[in-house]
Symmetry: C2
Amino acid sequence: MDGYRRFVSKRTSLFRASEIRELLKLTEGRDVISLAGGLPDPRVFDPRLADIAKEIIEKERDHALQYSPTAGVTEFRQTLKDFADSKGIKVTADDEVVVTAGSQEALFLAARVLIDPGDKVIVEEPTYLAAVNVFREHGATFEAIPIDSEGMQTDVLEERLRRMSKDEKKPKLIYLVPTSQNPSGSTMSQERRKHLIELAEEYDLLIIEDDPYSFFTFEPIQVDYLKTLDKSGRVLYMSTFSKILSPGLRVGWVLGPRDLVSYLELSKQTIDLHTSTLSQYIIMEAIKKGIVDATIERARALYKIKRDSMMDALEEYMMDLADWTRPVGGFFTMVYVNGEIDMKALMYEAIEKYGVAYVPGESFFPVSKKKNTMRLNFSYPSPDQIVEGVRRVALLVREKLGK
Amino acid sequence: MDGYRRFVSKRTSLFRASEIRELLKLTEGRDVISLAGGLPDPRVFDPRLADIAKEIIEKERDHALQYSPTAGVTEFRQTLKDFADSKGIKVTADDEVVVTAGSQEALFLAARVLIDPGDKVIVEEPTYLAAVNVFREHGATFEAIPIDSEGMQTDVLEERLRRMSKDEKKPKLIYLVPTSQNPSGSTMSQERRKHLIELAEEYDLLIIEDDPYSFFTFEPIQVDYLKTLDKSGRVLYMSTFSKILSPGLRVGWVLGPRDLVSYLELSKQTIDLHTSTLSQYIIMEAIKKGIVDATIERARALYKIKRDSMMDALEEYMMDLADWTRPVGGFFTMVYVNGEIDMKALMYEAIEKYGVAYVPGESFFPVSKKKNTMRLNFSYPSPDQIVEGVRRVALLVREKLGK
């Protein structure tokens, strides 16, 4: 792309071509089992969406195919508030919704509205890679708080906040995926959630609660949403229909204090004017007809089986080689290999020689860059592929560790 | 929104809430004729899209509802190249397409990739307001070149470029809507197009050819696309399906040199990951089945009648009050009132007392801020509303000028 270097902006130096994406292109059209992706299993997609799309265009053509408000179709925004409410997410009279092009755009809008170059963002470690990239592109630096099976370690957070409060540049934002975390699958305990909210109050912080997965946990969880625990408008809640209906419709949403969310709306106006009107109408109808809830139940059942296949395979093949998280929801488990190993450096060999792909975990640790880690996906491959994929990964790791 | 001021980024000060949008809210649910909007007439929307949507989800569910590549569905990108080719837009082996969320996102991506704060962008005057806002948000300043019935006055451009070439900060980008311009409706002559391309070569400039309207001109035009005249990869061509199929699907596209377009793709990755997959599949099918071409013919016929209604009404009521452009395509005419008048200041009165709304022209002139202008839309209102709307505008203007 060098021919145009004299024309492009300085910020393009912050754009990252994903090396992983490039490596994964090697898997195309070959007999490689991919545990690398993050796609939903298409079997959860509801065939009734075909009729809904047809009916919506027939009945609402003048509106469903027309421009719509930047914040989202008015009726759909109300539907989303009701949907949130039905799931136990607190919606106050001061709250408003902005409909976005997937949660990626929700993250982009939040970063654009909140981050100045040099701002410090507190994240979990490991954390969601795409969020890190968005914040980094806006000039953020990171303060990483480790997570364990109960989510972000808020005692570490508290200590870190106390130390940072003496700095000139205080953090103003905590980003986390508190339920069925990506990449680890862990869920934050109720106690820590309360502690987090207290700390946000004490240190005057905003919280982004990124929540793509809470609707289909494999076991019941007894925790409140951060949005629900929030008392003073500090939580920006975001979710998406990518995992509970269809990613191809490209619809996410942000719920939060109207005064804050208005900035996101304003920013969206120059980015893409509005989200696909047709997608919004289709989802509105799918919610009304119970299709979203039916999809959630299908997702829960199907992904639970696959999660179990992956846990079984890991026990079978990697017991002596690694530790891993036991996800209560979501699409992924995080594997920590016992020993000195660089899973990123091994990726080419994994694909070429062992016929398996994973995502090296390093990039999910924006500060500590743990090289001995990988993220494995269980939502897309079949149970057989999961077992065989894990077996191949184990062979690779075993050979490299000389065990 | 002041409660969150301590949290928001400095760049939010560049976000503009549109005063016009606020004023136009006054028209809601009232007997006001709006010549202010920019909506397509829903009668051009093709009812067959209902069946297409259903069939696509039935046949291609696993793909049409799934995540898709950031640059766009691979097959759809080829369809777009063929579509471009069929319309006389030159596509070279070095060219690539990025599918965007409407042309708004195409503009945003271009600004993000090309504009550093302080960069000078050359625009037509008047020019497309939303483009000005995007560039301004990225810190651009403007050099405005006047247009007449033959488009941008390239002799003025040449003189200006010569003068600017002595400055330290040379412009690197020209933005224009060369065919059926928004807001004026004028179309650049072939001679000036060639001159523009020569100047771009001489002064090493990129050109953004924004082209939402060229497919349905009311009279045949004998000009080449700038993209077609380009010899050295300087033209970034952008268009949209908003005016020739449906804005609600939210699909635009950029065609240009692969090396340049790759930056836009990279930027899109963190903004919204990809454009609605379902929308892309629907449009792909609509192109194949001739529905886009049928819509284009419907648009041409319908908007020509409305353009004529507006021209007739302007002649009938405003002959002695103003000059205006005679659009060969597009949705708008630009009216220049003869005399000292501030159309923006009169907007409230227009709505409240005269029951008519328009868009004050001032913002379309980023440098000269001409206050005696307004943009009138003829695509959405009915011919009767157009005539009555123009009559009301004329009454207001006549009263204010004391004629």
